[in-house]
């Protein structure tokens, strides 16, 4: 994504090349275009640009992809609420968006 760069070595995105069958779904859905297909296997080109949306993992037919499964839309309110919930031992009430 031109002009934007977030933190390096932080996003959780893993590809198990063993399992990959080269269907190309991840190439299609990734909104940051982070995959290529070489010799029938997907490859991550720039894992640091991943925003953990989970689209690739959701559409991989063989579970070759793993993305940080913590859902919520990546907003600060959501994280504060979930931290508070952990401290207070209560159910988090999401982020309200």
């Amino acid at each position: 994504m031109q002009g934007y760069r977030y933190l390096d070595d932080t996003a959780i995105l893993r590809l198990d090349a063993e399992k990959c069958i080269g269907c190309g779904n991840c190439l299609e859905v990734c909104p940051h275009r982070l995959f290529t297909l070489n010799d029938g296997k997907a490859r991550i080109t720039d894992g640091n640009a991943c925003m953990e949306c989970g689209a690739c993992a959701r559409n991989c037919p063989v579970e070759a992809l793993f993305v940080n499964p913590d859902d919520g839309c990546g907003c600060a309110h959501y994280i504060i609420n979930s931290w508070l919930a952990r401290v207070l031992n209560k159910q988090s009430n999401g982020c309200g968006c």
């Binding site: 933190l7 940051h32 949306c53 968006c97």
Partner: protein, 326 residues
């Protein structure tokens, strides 16, 4: 079956303004189901979208002159992107609406065009099994739909998410309006705190110093919730709390220079810290609206940003309270 107009009425436009400004946030929805755009027949394409009315309004406006079916699924009035993440925009929900609307009897083909940004919720491969329709992902933006329909496929540009100035700008009013309640409460507190003086409580001081503090808040909001989103790609640092802190301290410096006459040193320092800390917090909250910040990254920067913000706020408050006694 309901036919949707491809031009927005004045009511639609008012509604859009209301949602965009945060007045109506969680209740702007449409009844889910199948709708027509133009005069679709058995060969017309079927587009799928969520029942957030803004999504539907954008889609139908972009497709003026086209004849097609619009399947609106129940995402509880949330936009496609967040709904996918929350699991409401799912293959099961799409399949349910397909069956419920009797789509199979209305069209000869078996294809659905889904918004690409619903891919975090919809496993397209499951749709075939669930409802007999093949799910394909269309472009990210509704503006690209006509081009996509003409070509039958999306190119790389249509599949890449963007965050242009205009896309950032429309997010600002909501962010600010969500702050109203907190602001009102804070202002009340500020007036009370500002009145504390060696003579116990002075109404004159409460009004004078309280107003200064309220104005400082406006400066913080301007730096953190307006300038940060607008200037985002050009600000130094990758972490949002730092971007906000930089702009906040800058705004704070300008503020104390312009509005600092007659204030004590401690008060000036308090204002500077307060504006810097608040702007940092507001900028950090904006991560939730961008399409490139990962949840892991936001959590990481919050572990650094929150202590800074809480620290500056407490220190500012302390200095502000102490100032009349020196």
């Amino acid at each position: 079956m309901a036919r949707l107009a491809t031009r927005l009425s004045w009511r639609d436009r008012l509604g859009t303004i209301a949602v965009r400004s945060g007045l109506r946030r969680n209740s702007y929805l449409m009844v889910p189901g199948l709708y027509c755009l133009g005069e679709p027949d058995g060969n017309s394409p079927v587009l799928v979208t969520g029942n957030y009315k803004l999504s539907v309004d954008t889609v139908r406006q972009e497709l003026a002159g086209h004849h097609l079916w619009l399947l609106v699924v129940d995402t509880r009035g949330i936009n496609v992107w967040c709904a996918g993440g929350k699991g409401t925009f799912s293959a099961a929900e799409v399949a349910y609406q397909v069956q419920n609307s009797g789509l199979a009897q209305l069209v000869n083909h078996r294809q659905l065009i889904l918004p690409q940004l619903s891919a975090n919720g919809v496993r397209a491969g499951e749709l075939k099994k669930l409802c007999g329709f093949l799910g394909r992902f269309g472009p990210i933006l509704a503006t690209d739909l006509p081009e996509y329909l003409r070509r039958g496929e999306a190119d790389e540009a249509m599949r890449s998410v963007t965050f242009r100035l205009s896309e950032r700008a429309v997010l600002i009013p909501v962010e600010i309006c969500l702050l109203w309640k907190k602001l009102l409460l804070a202002s009340l507190l500020f007036f009370l705190l500002s009145g504390i003086s060696p003579e116990f409580f002075t109404v004159e001081a409460a009004l004078r110093r309280g107003t200064t503090l309220a104005l400082a808040n406006a400066a913080a909001i301007f730096a953190g919730a307006i300038a940060t989103p607008l200037l985002l790609p050009w600000l130094p640092f990758r972490q949002f709390w730092l971007k906000g802190a930089v702009l906040g301290l800058l705004a704070g410096l300008i503020f104390v220079t312009v509005a600092g006459e007659g204030l004590a040193r401690l008060e000036l320092l308090a204002l500077l810290l307060w504006i810097g800390g608040c702007a940092s917090y507001l900028a950090m909250c904006f991560t939730g609206s961008t399409p490139y910040t990962s949840l892991s990254g936001v959590a990481k920067e919050m572990r650094r940003g929150l202590p800074f913000q809480i620290g500056t706020a407490l220190l500012a408050l302390l200095l502000w309270l102490a100032a009349p006694f020196f």
